[in-house]
């Protein structure tokens, strides 16, 4: 099986792009990630990830409409590519396969 290079953070960003369905751009993705995962994510980290994703062909981008709160500047809107979706599915498959192969169920430990 072909190896897909997708970092963990990239995976989160890619999933968020799917989640936002056509409204995915830097700020929205950042806020969504913060909201959903509670991670302290910064804009530039997201942008860097998006850049790498675009280079890998997982997402494509286009310039969207301008909005007033951005000082009339346009957004770059990201959408996932078929290849990106395939990659996400592959990752999921590998994980579920691995989990299914585990000798025992995973139990999070309770710290006192």
């Amino acid at each position: 099986m072909k190896r897909t290079y997708l970092g963990e953070f990239e995976e989160i960003v890619l999933l968020t792009v799917v989640l936002l369905e056509g409204k995915a751009y830097g700020v929205a993705i950042t806020h969504q990630i913060i909201e959903q995962t509670g991670r302290a994510v910064r804009l530039n980290q997201v942008h860097a990830a998006l850049h790498r994703l675009e280079e890998k062909g997982m997402v494509i981008s286009r310039m969207g409409e301008a909005t007033a709160e951005r000082g009339g500047r346009r957004k770059r809107l990201f959408t996932i590519t078929a290849y990106g979706e395939q990659t996400l599915l592959d990752i999921q498959a590998i994980r579920s396969q691995l989990i299914s192969l585990l000798p025992r169920a995973l139990k999070p430990s309770i710290s006192l």
């Binding site: 700020v27 806020h31 804009l43 942008h47 860097a48 951005r70 000082g71």
Partner: protein, 897 residues
């Protein structure tokens, strides 16, 4: 006092924005900044302004990542960005490639431009070199700032006279009386002297001078000792070329040379070899000997009234010329009081500096241009040449600018498309400018090659010795480079700038206006025509003046007379006698005579003049002295007004008899001149001369000069230097050949350098002639250049007006109507140019003509002629294009849109 304004919306820190804009790749800036601002407002609302600002800065700094800083401009050229407007070197090559293709596609335009520029540049090189050679006259002497030529200044009652001829005792007196004078030398170039060495004869210019000559002038001494080379009265210094001619490979030092000057022979020992004087040296010599050897030295060495030679002095450093001239007043009063008194008697008043008669100094660098003390051209002519060079270059540049502007409209679409595709103004400017630079470069290169090829031709035609090597000095090359850059920037830069400014949208919509730069273009065309009309008018008037001088009656018949210089080897009197015997029975020879002074300038290039001043019945009279022989009047067909010619049947004629001219009669104030005795009041011992005949005035020297009184005398002892032979009109060439044959018998060993007198006379006007020729050449080139510019502008205008013409035709305009419309503007411009040029030309030439005693009146026909010629030329130039445009099928021209 603050008013209650709503609080300004919070803004992210400016500097952080700028920082981002600086490091961020242009194509990423918009989205990143947008995201950052959006986040900022979000955070500002949530966390407050201060915290949001802090976060903003942190985010911006966080964006300093390779993917943000890395630039990928190619994919995003449509975004205008200014931070990369500096020239990428790789693009320059591309610009030149594009420029070359563009030029190649528009061959007509390129040819006109390149040809115009190269011709202009070539002629500029010639004019510039001519001027350079003249302006650097004598500039090679090391201490040129301290070297002066002395001259006499006299403020006569009617005019100021200046002369560089000095008496023999002057230089030694100056040197002994003034400690400011570091060195002083006399320079006397006599008639050609004969140098004899081992039976070989050479006619050379031997200069009589003082040992200080070598201290003042820095002619390099190739062999010999500078300190004592001329210490001996029998030493001779020879020039390198003379050394080569006489001795070949032999060592000349210490060899004995025999030199014959005016019949006296003396032996000299060669003590050194001097480098040849360069072409631009006022002082020329083949050999130098001590002035004590000059003829008449002994009789004149204490005579303050016999002026014969030039004097050069070298002052010690830090001596001011004006102060020294003031000190010379006393000198004049001490030694030259006679002159002073006689001038005072005539009623001369002191000039602004308080001088009636004095010795003054002329800077060596100015000597060449001082027409009173040397025979160089007036400096105004040199400036005229430089001005002409400037004009021609200007005309070529105007052509260049006009063509580029005119063409910019046909190229507007290209510019529009380029702009639309994202080309920056600066890029467009460089691209268009590089085309101009390429044209300029080609023009200069071809011009340079042309100059190189035509230089020998130019030198031969105008009798100069220009060398392109003069241009190889770093200073000049820098100038040249400067001019080149200036031309490319002015002539290429302006249209490029104009085009780069085009509004892309307007251009693509076809809305670019044709009117706007029309004013500039028209004024440039007008000034071009002003210049060429000016040059033409001036040239024609100058040519008329020269022709006037040439055809003006001289007072004698110059046709059919052959003039033969006797040379230095033979004795003129003997040769004349033998000649007369030989030709006595020849029917084709009408008269033979001898004289001391040639008329015009013959093949020996020698001119000499002897004048005599005397006081006659209290009046100061100055007259030319002319030695003649029997039949002089007959040979030159000068009629007698009264009295008789010299005649063999009056033996006393050979003593103290003179024939005088009419103006001499007027000077003497005698009603009955024949038979009167002319005698110098001041000289009691001198003989008196009886007038035996009166002839009308004639021009002994240039016809440009005033006719001066002449006394013609007959002498058995003074040397005859020229023979004049009048031949019958049928066989001029044959007579010349015959004389050449006879010459071998009558003057064995000496060269025959006979020439026709009318040709010699023409040689008088050589400098005017040369100048007029150079002017004609320049004005012809100016006119051709102007016309080619007009032609090209017309060509491009027609191209732009094709549709207008088509519409006019469709609406019923006839071909003549269209021709009229198209030509009208051009004729208007030429008319404007003429109204400017004509008064200027009239004024300028009026001033110039004032230099001549015998001058023409400026005829209005010159201006009418030049004016109509200019209009006709302009019409012809334009009409070729107009007719083509007018005859075009309107269907074709209108269909294109």
């Amino acid at each position: 006092m603050k008013k209650n304004l709503p609080p300004a919306p919070p803004q992210p820190p400016r500097w952080a924005d700028k920082l981002l804009a600086w490091f961020c790749a242009p194509h990423l800036l918009e989205e990143l900044q947008g995201d950052l601002h959006e986040e900022f407002y979000f955070q500002a609302e949530r966390l407050g302004y201060r915290r949001a600002r802090w976060l903003y800065v942190r985010e911006v700094l966080g964006f300093m990542r390779p993917f943000v800083v890395k630039r990928q401009p190619n994919a995003y050229t449509s975004i205008s960005y200014s931070s990369t407007s500096f020239l990428p070197l790789s693009m320059i090559k591309n610009y030149f490639t594009i420029a070359w293709r563009n030029l190649w596609r528009n061959k007509g335009y390129t040819t006109i431009n390149v040809a115009g520029l190269s011709v202009a540049f070539c002629i500029c090189v010639f004019l510039f070199l001519t001027a350079y050679l003249q302006l650097t006259f004598d500039a090679f002497h090391q201490d040129k700032d301290r070297i002066f030529q002395t001259y006499f200044f006299a403020n006569n009652p009617d005019r100021i006279t200046r002369t560089g001829n000095m008496p023999l005792p002057l230089a030694p007196a100056l040197k002994s009386e003034y400690e400011e004078v570091e060195a002083a030398t006399r320079v006397l170039t006599s008639r050609r002297s004969l140098i004899t060495y081992q039976g070989k004869h050479f006619d050379k210019d031997v200069v009589f001078t003082d040992p200080d000559f070598l201290k003042i002038f820095s002619f390099p001494l190739i062999q010999g000792n500078r300190q004592n080379a001329l210490n001996n009265n029998s030493s001779i210094l020879i020039s390198q070329s003379v050394a080569q001619a006489i001795f070949g490979t032999e060592d000349p030092i210490g060899k004995l040379l025999q030199i014959t000057t005016e019949g006296k022979q003396k032996g000299y020992l060669v003590s050194g070899i001097l480098a040849d004087a360069p072409y631009n040296s006022s002082i020329r010599f083949d050999a130098l000997v001590r002035i004590e050897n000059s003829p008449h030295y002994l009789s004149n060495q204490t005579n303050w009234t016999a002026n014969s030679h030039q004097v050069f002095v070298k002052l010690i450093p830090q001596v001011n010329q004006a102060t020294f001239e003031k000190r010379l007043k006393l000198f004049t009063q001490k030694y030259l009081a006679e002159y002073l008194q006689s001038l005072q008697k005539k009623g001369a008043k002191p000039d602004s500096r308080g001088d009636i008669f004095t010795v003054r100094l002329q800077q060596l660098s100015q000597v060449h241009f001082d027409t009173a003390i040397s025979n160089g051209p007036p400096i105004a002519i040199i400036y005229a040449l430089l001005g002409m060079a400037f004009f021609i270059l200007l005309i070529a540049c105007i052509n260049f600018i006009n063509l580029s502007i005119a063409r910019s409209f046909t190229r507007a679409k290209e510019v529009g498309v380029r702009k639309y595709l994202g080309a920056l103004k600066s890029q467009l400017f460089v691209q268009i400018w590089s085309e101009s630079a390429l044209i300029c470069f080609m023009g200069f290169a071809i011009g340079g090659i042309l100059a190189h090829l035509l230089l020998p031709e130019f030198n031969a035609t105008f009798d100069t010795r220009l060398q392109l090597a003069h241009l190889h000095q770093p200073g000049f090359l820098a100038w040249l480079l400067g001019i080149f850059i200036l031309i490319t920037f002015i002539a290429g830069g302006y249209p490029a700038w104009l085009m780069a400014r085009f509004n892309a949208v307007a251009v693509l919509k076809g809305k670019i206006s044709l009117k706007k730069p029309g004013f500039l273009r028209n004024s440039l065309l007008v000034s071009q025509f002003v210049m060429s009309c000016l040059l033409t008018c001036c040239t024609i008037i100058a040519l008329q003046q020269v022709k006037h001088l040439r055809t003006k009656p001289l007072g004698f018949e110059k046709e059919q007379v052959i003039s033969i210089p006797v040379g230095t080897l033979a004795d003129g009197r003997q040769v004349l006698q033998r000649m007369r015997n030989k030709l006595a029975n020849d029917p084709t020879i009408l008269a033979v005579t001898g004289t001391s002074v040639n008329l015009g300038r013959g093949k020996d290039h020698v001119s000499s003049r002897s004048t005599m001043g005397l006081t006659y019945k209290g009046k100061e009279i100055s007259s030319d002295m002319l030695l003649i022989d029997y039949d002089y009047l007959k040979t030159l067909q000068i009629p007698l007004l009264a009295g008789r010619d010299f005649n063999r049947s009056y033996p006393a004629d050979s003593l103290d008899r003179v024939i005088i001219t009419q103006s001499m009669v007027e000077m003497l104030g005698e009603k009955q001149p024949v038979g009167t005795f002319i005698k110098d009041d001041a000289d009691t011992t001198g003989g008196k001369m009886q007038v035996i005949g009166v002839v009308p005035d004639f021009h002994l020297y240039s016809a440009a000069e005033e006719k001066r009184p002449i006394m013609m005398h007959f002498s058995q002892s003074e040397p005859i230097n020229y023979l004049f032979v009048r031949v019958s009109p049928q066989s001029l060439k044959k007579a010349m050949n015959k004389l050449q044959e006879i010459w071998r018998e009558v003057a064995p060993g000496s060269e025959f350098t006979g020439s026709f007198l009318d040709e010699n006379i023409d040689a008088w006007y050589q400098s005017e002639e040369k100048l007029a020729q150079i002017c004609s050449l320049a004005s012809v080139i100016a006119i051709i250049l102007s016309c080619s510019g007009l032609f090209a502008v017309a060509l491009l205008l027609m191209e732009q007006r094709t549709k207008e013409i088509g519409i006019r035709k469709v609406l019923g305009a006839s071909v003549t109507d269209i021709l009229f419309i198209l030509s009208r503007d051009f004729v208007k411009m030429v008319l404007i140019a003429l109204t400017i040029a004509i008064p200027l030309a009239w004024f300028g030439m009026h001033q110039w003509l004032n230099n001549y005693t015998y001058r023409i009146e400026i005829s209005a026909w010159v201006f009418v002629g030049v004016g109509s010629a200019a209009i006709i030329l302009a019409l012809l130039t334009v009409s070729f294009q107009s007719i083509k445009a007018a005859l075009m099928n309107p269907v074709k021209s209108l269909k294109t849109e």
